[in-house]
């Protein structure tokens, strides 16, 4: 009965436009950057990186990889280090839930996260006068001193639960729970759904031979998968993830 929500992100479809980043920030009431904010100190629960094969001229290849909380399933590093129990894995959904109100800001979890998917609020959030009217009421606004990360748009899951309950149902309608990044992607590169349901497109994509996960060898069992036919990308992700004998793997 319990779900394990995850994603498969197709790196052959990601164009690096950044729509997912902006949609995520808008949905989650992430404040606009302080003037002193940089790429290192900013808050980007969804962050797209550029990948390059390092070659020049006609052999150059480029791709983009959206990085978000990998929703680790086993040995979740951040959960095991938090002194406040401010992060837990939800049994119903598999979401690694960050409870910003419990966080005391020690940032141990930021050190523990192998994917650098956690962000610290160095400053209090500030919006130009009146802009607070455009805040999403389903997500609470964080103060400085707490760590935050992607919660797989739990606010949208809440809305789906309420809607299902109003109709007397316990199970949500999958069409009602679509995270902001998934909805925003103009090429449909992000497929989202319940990995425990074998018919769900995300489960089918996750089992594709082209799909892999980041740092598989450390055993975090992330629920965010990636998919590509380009070998050079897999080589950068994880040296154990390269398949050398498939003809499709040679396609660059």
């Amino acid at each position: 009965m319990s779900a394990r929500y995850g994603m498969v992100i197709d790196l052959d479809r990601c164009t690096g436009c950044g729509a997912c980043m902006v949609a995520c920030a808008a949905e989650n009431n992430v404040p606009p950057p302080h003037t002193r904010t940089t790429a290192r100190t900013g808050i980007t629960p969804m962050l797209v990186h550029k990948l390059s094969n390092g070659k020049e001229g006609a052999d150059a290849r480029e791709a983009f990889i959206p990085i978000t909380c990998m929703q680790c399933g086993e040995e979740t590093p951040c959960v095991s280090v938090c002194p406040q129990q401010a992060v837990q894995v939800d049994k119903e959904t598999g979401i690694v839930m960050q409870m910003v109100q419990r966080c005391l800001g020690c940032r141990y979890c930021m050190t523990a996260c192998p994917y650098h998917a956690r962000y610290f609020n160095w400053w209090d959030p500030e919006w130009p006068a009146g802009m607070e009217k455009s805040l999403n009421p389903g997500v609470s606004v964080r103060m400085r001193g707490v760590v935050e990360k992607c919660n797989l748009c739990d606010a949208r899951y809440h809305l789906a639960l309420s809607k299902a309950a109003a109709a007397g149902k316990k199970e949500i309608d999958p069409a009602d729970y679509v995270p902001a990044c998934v909805e925003a992607c103009p090429t449909g590169a992000i497929v989202f759904g319940n990995l425990t349901n074998a018919n769900d497109p995300v489960a089918v994509a996750a089992h594709s031979p082209d799909s892999f996960r980041l740092l598989e060898q450390i055993g975090t069992e992330p629920k965010i998968h990636y998919k590509t036919k380009q070998n050079w990308i897999r080589a950068q992700a994880d040296r154990n993830a390269v398949r050398s004998n498939s003809p499709e793997a040679q396609h660059v």
């Binding site: 197709d10 052959d12 479809r13 164009t15 690096g16 436009c17 950044g18 729509a19 980043m21 902006v22 949609a23 920030a25 808008a26 949905e27 992430v30 606009p32 950057p33 904010t37 940089t38 790429a39 900013g42 808050i43 980007t44 962050l47 797209v48 990186h49 550029k50 006609a58 150059a60 290849r61 480029e62 791709a63 983009f64 109100q101 209090d124 919006w127 130009p128 006068a129 009146g130 802009m131 009217k133 455009s134 805040l135 999403n136 009421p137 389903g138 997500v139 609470s140 606004v141 103060m143 902001a180 909805e183 925003a184 103009p186 090429t187 449909g188 590169a189 590509t228 499709e248 396609h251």
Partner: protein
């Protein structure tokens, strides 16, 4: 015994002991911790009914369908509309934070004149005086709207000139306009039926055309496939995002697109790879083309043979380079399915604005891009919702911002079919703003009304019995019971899409290969964004990450 200090201490100890058995320390501890979690300067989302409304974005000419989540009467979340047949749920990256724009610090809230605040009455008086003293030019940045009729009518009645500014993507179609006698605004790209696209540096996957249209098409037909149904060949000097995902990327020297087009045309004509109904071959030899582009003659031959393997094939250019347009004529890609098509019945073309207009005054509608700086001594009345800074306009007049205005959205420039949609005002227009149309109507009350104009257009569409209205479901216009019912859907965010025109209505008369023009400049990722300011969250893409280059400052 006298009350002494010892009594105080012992009594104090008693109080301390006793207080532990009262709620005081426990409640204070708990309440203080709650107090520390509710700092008054940390805002939260508003309490109020949450509704979902549909409309159309008017921040650029693409007119993407938007689904707006409203809380307590304010827009709090924007997403695309999956049932919109053109965008298929996509928006541009900046559109997702559009709800912040109305509170941007550079929002123009008062009439500005000569560096000081003025009033609407003063502005109106000045404009009326100008109209009395000489001809006035009215500039429209987005022709074809109901508001455009108001602007045009005023110019006609008051001996002025109505001029339009065409956006870059429409201007790119002007060679075909010139050769066929049809206005560029009546042309579009039939992307859905193309099998090979030769893109000359056009960011097809990164901001060209209507968001979603090509990206979804490409995702379905080409992404990740070794032998895709849709072959995207990207010709440009550097590895752009589109080049990185294209089926083939061919690097040529900067500015040599025209030379490559000429070289390809040479090969296509000499090797009889095309049906020979185009212009005479270009003067430029294959060897010269190779030298200019940096490709070998063999490479150009091989490319020419590849591009005609799967037809229909079309070349798409970033600007109005005539050589690339001529290549399309050679390829037989003009006026055929899967090529440059006619999307609406040809009408008289609107006069474009030329520089150095010697009029008494110039009125710039809010749809005129901020970086358009007229070279004129005329008194300039500029309507804008956001102040981009460095404006040389004499009067800055605050117009409605995002979703604050009822207006209609005519067909987007690159579309293959006619479309029509209505952008509703989701947030009441703030009292201190006026559109240019409203300003002119205040002066001349006989001008047409925008709301009535929209109503008339809906009736006209209903009577034509052509096309389909796409809301949650798609309904053919012919199936609607009444014009009112159709208009109701359009006023709730639906989009009307016309039927494709029959092929053959477009003929290009081109005998000689055209001379090269100035090469198009590279299109940066914010080129399609017409506002002078960005939503604050856009900074996620360049300040808080290395994903994009910071946009250049937009000057006026």
């Amino acid at each position: 015994m006298k009350f002494s200090r010892r009594d105080l201490f012992i009594g104090g100890a008693g109080i301390a002991a006793g207080i532990v058995f009262t709620p005081v320390p426990w409640k204070l501890l708990g309440d203080t911790s709650i107090w520390t979690q509710n700092w008054p300067w940390i805002p939260q989302g508003a309490h109020g009914p949450v509704e979902t409304k549909h409309s159309v974005c008017t921040l650029c000419a693409a007119g993407c369908g938007i689904r707006v989540r409203m809380a307590a009467g304010w827009p709090v979340g924007i997403s695309g509309v999956a049932t919109n047949p053109i965008t298929k749920g996509a928006l541009c990256p900046l559109g997702f934070a559009a709800q912040q724009l109305n509170w941007h610090p550079q929002r123009l809230r008062e009439v500005r004149h000569g560096g000081r605040t003025a009033s609407w009455a003063e502005a109106q008086a000045a404009f009326e005086k100008a109209c009395g003293e000489g001809p006035v030019t009215i500039v429209d940045g987005r022709p074809g709207r109901a508001a455009s009729s108001v602007l045009e009518a005023f110019a006609a009645k008051h001996a002025g000139d109505y001029r339009v500014l065409l956006d870059e993507e429409t201007r790119a179609l002007s060679p075909y306009a010139m050769w066929s006698g049809v206005s560029a605004a009546a042309l579009g790209y039939d992307l859905e039926n193309m099998q090979t696209i030769v893109s000359f540096g056009v960011p097809l996957l990164d901001g060209w055309g209507t968001p979603g249209r090509f990206t979804r098409l490409w995702s379905e037909k080409a992404a990740g496939a070794a032998d895709p149904q849709l072959r995207l060949i990207q010709i440009e000097p550097g590895l752009s995002r589109t080049a990185a995902r294209a089926w083939r990327w061919t690097a040529i020297h900067e500015g040599s697109g025209a030379a490559l087009a000429a070289g390809l045309a040479q090969v296509l004509i000499q090797e009889h790879l095309v049906n020979g109904q185009g212009p005479a071959p270009p003067q430029m030899s294959l060897v010269d083309a190779a030298a200019q582009t940096g490709l070998s003659s063999d490479a150009i031959r091989e490319l020419a043979r590849t591009i005609v393997e799967r037809r229909p094939v079309v070349a798409i250019a970033a600007g109005d380079e005539p050589a690339i347009a001529a290549l399309n004529v050679v390829l037989g890609a003009v006026g055929t399915s899967g090529g440059i098509v006619l999307k609406s019945k040809p009408q008289g073309s609107q006069v474009q604005l030329e520089a150095g207009v010697g009029h008494r005054a110039m009125l710039l509608d809010s749809t005129v891009p901020w970086d358009f700086a007229p070279q004129t001594n005329a008194e300039v009345f500029r309507f804008a919702a956001w102040d981009g800074g460095n404006s040389k306009a004499d009067w800055l007049l605050p117009s409605p911002g995002f979703a604050e205005e009822l207006t209609d959205v005519p067909t987007a420039s690159t579309s293959a079919r006619e479309t029509y949609a209505i952008a509703v005002n989701l947030v009441a227009q703030p009292g201190e703003t006026k559109t240019a149309a409203q300003f002119l109507t205040n002066i001349d009350g006989t001008l047409p009304d925008v709301d009535k104009g929209i109503h008339a257009r809906c009736e006209h569409l209903f009577e034509s019995k052509a096309g389909t209205v796409h809301a949650e479901q798609a309904t053919a216009v012919a199936k609607f019971e009444s014009a009112a019912k159709m208009e109701e859907q359009l006023r709730q965010g639906a989009i009307w899409v016309g039927d494709p025109l029959k092929a053959g209505g477009l003929k290009c008369a081109l005998k000689q290969w055209p001379a090269a023009a100035n090469p198009a400049h590279a299109i940066d990722w914010t080129a399609a964004w017409q506002l002078p300011v960005f939503p604050p969250l856009a900074a996620k893409l360049y300040q808080e990450s290395d994903l994009r280059e910071a946009p250049g400052r937009r000057q006026a």
